[in-house]
Symmetry: C5
Subunit: 295 residues, 5 copies
């Protein structure tokens, strides 16, 4: 998540440098050609370019809206993970017997958040959670392909053990099971957003339409003095390319990019909340931004 | 689901080849006519074409958005199937007695996912699931018109048997029944998306509007040199036709097309998850793309 | 639901014939007037017409989108009815005692779907369900103004009787009651969509804007040769009128029109599912389209 | 809710008469000025007006869409009230003992619907419900600021009394409590829509943009003959003002206006349903429209 | 929440004064330059500006719509807090024993609303709630980083104590726990909206596009007389800047700004409701607006 208004210019430029180089080259070329072969380049009515630009801005707005919705849905999923992690602890404290070993469950829940975040980003899931899980459990989980799911199964096993040991009533188990179901849901939803490629052809045709528009516009403006026409073309094109790139980044929010959902920071918040609810003394500080963004 | 950025050009062209041939023929015809019968072809103001193009791009954007929503809803439904399949197993392991024959339920759940996917795509539903169901059950299910529903009924019968055998508490049965209800919902939702024809007239009028626009545009541009006008017309028309086709494919995501929701691959993921949760040793690998898409 | 791509031309034309006759008359009139009183008809800049057309296409797209949402919501409601009808049977089979008279409940559920569909369409609700209900019950239900609601009350009474007879545990009754609540919800939602008039003024002003646009466009195009101008005007106007009509039909999906939600066919599907789940032998076939549509 | 297509012209005109008078005055003024001081009034390119008109139609469409969503949400809330009122009665009949005094609860539920509707509209809440509540209860409720909430509390007290008297099992009470929670939700949602002012600045700037557009358009059209220009301007402006007014009315649907959600009529429907479910003999007729609308 | 239609002009102007000063300076500069260096300033076709303006109005409308959705979602969350606060009290009165010390829970619920509101706005959370919590509890809560969460934990502890003391059945505890889960959800949702920065690049590129548009428009209009051109430019630009600013304020609704969700006023409403439900005598009055807004 980008947290500062002052995003480095280099970061922005980097996103669209190839597209802009193409536009620059194109506009110079068309200008040169327009001077040389005056008759060969057709008169392109500006209203063709204008209509194309309008059409693309509409299509792009819808695309942006769909990408934004995906991003916001992903953020909501992680919000639900925050809420259900807290509810899990609150429910354990409300329903479990006084002798119940709740700390193991609480630490596993913290671990689950980190592991899920790392899995989504394609990083080694179990890095850095050695303190939160027992050695044996860590090894067992490592054999699973879907490690967050393996951790949820451990939650279930612990709840069953609590119930069998008389430390948890049926009522409590049912309420806690409902929370586990919601956590399973949240996990699956994040995986769905992460694993579903945005319809490729849709994106492709829109990208190609932007290029078509730039070419048409550069021909339509060929009689404007180059010193004005080239910057104008590059500036207009850059608006479109930058917005398209924004849409592209929003639609895949677990890629270890500055525009990601800050899953590590969220997991840290959950860790702080859970440790304080458990009455622990040693509470870590909140995650801090790395430069202009937070991961 | 198309997974690669490099979609074969032939695949894309195939989608709209008849429409583009029409546009090509039309533009050539209009150009010839414009040269021959200069006076007979009216002066078509370009702004009529431009306004029509803008209008169509707006209508098309909404259509794309509705098709996208249908596709995304279908994807969500299959995401819910993933989640509830996992929850079913986690809940069985949490609530059922230690002697309960859970494997039968687990394998039936895997079978259910494959059978539902094949049913939606109009393929023989029971192909390739022989190992997952008992012979007798397979035969009984085969007599049903809606085979996934028959499998859910078997789930219910097993849960009842578990409860009567003292292997499942009322509380557990209630929680598992809630999961069965959600699976029934997901199945029905997928069938609804699959069985509901997108409003035909709406689509028809939009398609006809694109043709009207192309004709008007080709008349409006008739004085541009053919060597520029024909490619321009074809390119602009292709953007519209390709986007319309994308919308068309998104709206029916269970048709055995490259743009489908990858139900077989998702069922395979569920199989992997369930087998690992059950502690089985022989885990299949994930589904791999066939060329540029995954089914 | 229109199921075929080849919708009869007469059906489409019928929808907008009065609007198109008006446009035809108008364009002829304006053309005649333009020839006679050259000076009296003002020069209408085409861009006024173009801007109006763009504005209307935006407003119309939103209107279409809202109508589509209503239609899709109605379809979802009937999808939920399918799902909850199946769940009701699955839950009865899971929770009720072996001696419980489930067939009566199952047949009443089938009847409920038909009765609800006919009520929504304003047809006599109880026609053709004589075999599904007992004589006495049929008579009692006929005294109610809201007959589907009366049937749900009978469901409740049966469940109560089952519980009192020891054929249904509290747990089962609670789960079945939750399903009854969802069926009550679905019924109320369908009634809401059916009974709520789409904001009349909104529709009226949009309709009037289309007429204003057509008049302005016909004046703006008055100098184009009539042989081209009249068809052009009629074609452009027809796109707008047809889309507006589509929106109008989508927004009221229980009116016994070809574009309706096919509630009878859906009820038939439910009948087939329920009869097969109950192990009945005599299963009717699915509903078949009447010409190009399915009701 | 406006129920007839033939809305009185005076009703429509009333909505925008001040705005249209302004437009009329403005266009006359500009025309006079254009004749007198030919050189002082600048040449306003029509495309500025056209672009402004397009921009406003987009903004207005979104505004309309948001207002429509608010209105539809309010309608959904009252739909939920219908459904949960019915469910409440069905659940009481299913779970309560045969001696339970259900009529008091049923009548209070009817009263609650009327009282909520009147509260939302700012009318004296308790008028006309004397027959439905006992004298003592009526007096107690009258001391509360939020009278519908006070009635829900009475529901809760009655359920508690039933449970303590052995007329209601814990299971029944839990199910009924869930219904009370949904009723509390619906009530709060209606209050939220009613009490939340639509963002004032957003509306203000849009209104001001429409005026800016009308001024620019009137200047741009100043050379068209007044006999055509003035009606044209008034007609175009009226489309925008009428749609804006429609949006304004939709966004606040509990203001005792013809475009309101018909809460009294809905409450009447609920009364009919509940009385018939309770087997009462004296059933009132449905609410009838007052002229062209239903309240 | 701005509650009056008459928003002070200074408030509105303040929002965009820097942007408008820039536009003013720019238009004067361009006009001067146009007079001096007639040949150096290129002919900018107005249709480039018009198309850019249309494109921006589309993008801006979507942005406004997304911001509005965030604001409305935030308002819904606080509506849910109202509803669940009421339900909590109603459920306590329905399920808890007659000797249960409910007042402590009721007052803590009031406190929670105020504390959550102040936390979201970055104000010292515990100010002004001294009367609602016991001294010891206040101190304990003050040690937590997330104080509303600490209060929910106290709720849980009290419910547990009630259950252990025989003042609350398992059924009641389960229902109340479900309400606590919903309150935890609402709290987390408000924190999510508050803590998630709206995609920075998206906003940045849109802002930059508005500037590009203003520059292009000012060049395109350079030949209009300055006395008309400058106000026109400023007025058009102000519409865009004001709407963008509205969007910006809507998207972050907990910033102690006039356009905020009025969380303090909502908390006051909850206080009034809860105190009246508890039968207290001393009820405070509702919050009153501070000038033109309510916080």
């Amino acid at each position: 998540m980008i947290v500062e208004k002052k995003v480095p210019f280099s970061y922005i430029l980097n996103k669209v440098r190839y597209d802009l180089l193409f536009v620059l080259a194109l506009s110079i070329l068309i200008n040169l050609a327009a001077n040389r072969f005056t008759n060969r380049i057709p008169e392109m009515p500006l209203s063709v370019a204008a209509f194309l630009g309008t059409a693309i801005s509409i299509l792009l707005s819808f695309k942006l809206s769909q990408s934004y919705d995906r991003w916001w849905e992903a953020r909501k999923v992680w919000g639900a993970i925050v809420n259900d992690s807290r509810s899990l602890i609150l429910q354990l404290q409300q329903f479990a017997g006084t002798d119940a070993p709740l700390q193991r469950l609480a630490h596993r829940q913290i671990a689950w958040c980190y592991v899920l975040g790392r899995s989504l980003r394609g990083q080694p899931p179990l890095d850095g959670i050695g303190d939160l899980l027992q050695e044996a459990e860590l090894e067992r989980v490592a054999t699973h392909r879907n490690m967050p799911l393996a951790l949820l199964r451990q939650h279930g096993a612990d709840l069953r053990a609590l119930q069998e040991a008389g430390q948890l009533s049926w009522y409590g188990q049912v309420q806690l099971d409902a929370t586990l179901v919601r956590l399973t849901d949240a996990m699956g939803k994040a995986e769905r957003i992460n694993g579903t490629v945005f319809p490729v052809t849709y994106r492709l045709f829109l990208h190609y339409a932007i290029y078509l528009f730039v070419v048409v516009l550069s021909i339509a403006l060929k009689d404007v003095a180059p010193v004005f026409e080239i910057p104008l073309l590059v500036l207009i094109a850059s608006v479109f390319f930058l917005l398209e790139k924004s849409a592209f980044h929003l639609q895949d929010p677990f890629r270890n990019r500055p525009s990601d959902i800050p899953v590590t920071a969220i997991a840290r918040t959950i860790e702080i909340n859970i440790r304080q609810l458990m009455g622990e003394a040693d509470i870590p500080g909140p995650a801090t931004p790395e430069g202009f963004y937070l991961l």
